[in-house]
């Protein structure tokens, strides 16, 4: 998403793959999920590729990560029948930490990430 946000116009996945050193196949899976979530749109044709559907200032990390990994919090994967110690930790620690993490993710936008590095890191092509 940072890579796409750092370029003008639709970005072809193979170019993202080259710059970010992530396999094309994997990127295709991610792009599918992000499109389904309405964060990316696929542009067909000669100068095609993927584009953001909104400005990078308007897309939060919470939206991006939750479309890929569900909730990214501690409260998942918890045993079905929790004992009193597990319950105590969940209520007082895991759920508290979750709230704080969600707030951080909701408060960080794609532009925060894009603007945090020098332009050359993401714009050059291999």
């Amino acid at each position: 998403m940072v890579d796409i946000a750092s370029h003008q116009g639709p970005v072809p996945l193979p170019s993202v793959s080259g710059r970010q050193e992530i396999s094309l196949k994997y990127l295709q899976q991610l792009a599918f999920l992000l499109c389904r979530r309405g964060l990316l749109v696929s542009v067909k044709g000669m100068n095609g590729g993927y584009s953001l559907t909104r400005n990078k200032e308007e897309i939060t990390l919470l939206e991006i990560l939750s479309s890929l990994e569900g909730d990214l919090g501690f409260s998942q994967d918890l045993p079905a029948n929790e004992n009193v110690f597990q319950r105590c930790l969940r209520v007082n620690f895991y759920e508290v930490a979750d709230k704080r993490l969600r707030a951080l993710l909701a408060g960080t936008t794609l532009s925060d990430l894009v603007d945090s590095v020098a332009p050359s890191s993401y714009e050059y092509d291999i």
Binding site: Q86, L89, L104, L113
Partner: protein
Amino acid sequence: MKISTKGRYSLEVMLFLASYGKSCSCTTIGSATGISAGYLEQLMIPLKKANLVVAKRGVEGGYRVSREDITCYDVLNASEGDCKLPCPHCLRKQDCATERFWQDFQNCIDDASKAITLSSLALSLLQMEKGAGL
């Protein structure tokens, strides 16, 4: 970013010990937490190394917490070690736009875990048990 099973179990064990108050055997810990004695012995190794638990031999021996003010951070740090970020060994760290964010993410978790002590959890535990009429 999830806490590992090892981390969770270590927290449960430490919470039990903090609420129990005195030394107890792995058998006792196991009965209360549902964790097998064998696995408990393994969990204790890094906790002992980090001086969070004290082991005593003899009749009234066993394990107990080493001090009052142990935080969840202390327990997780001991049991899970340092490599928690998604990409600690990434060679592209310098140029990475997301690296700074993952630091913030980790700091958020660390701050939350440093703010919670085992003693405060033990107190909540007591209140929970009272509330349930146990």
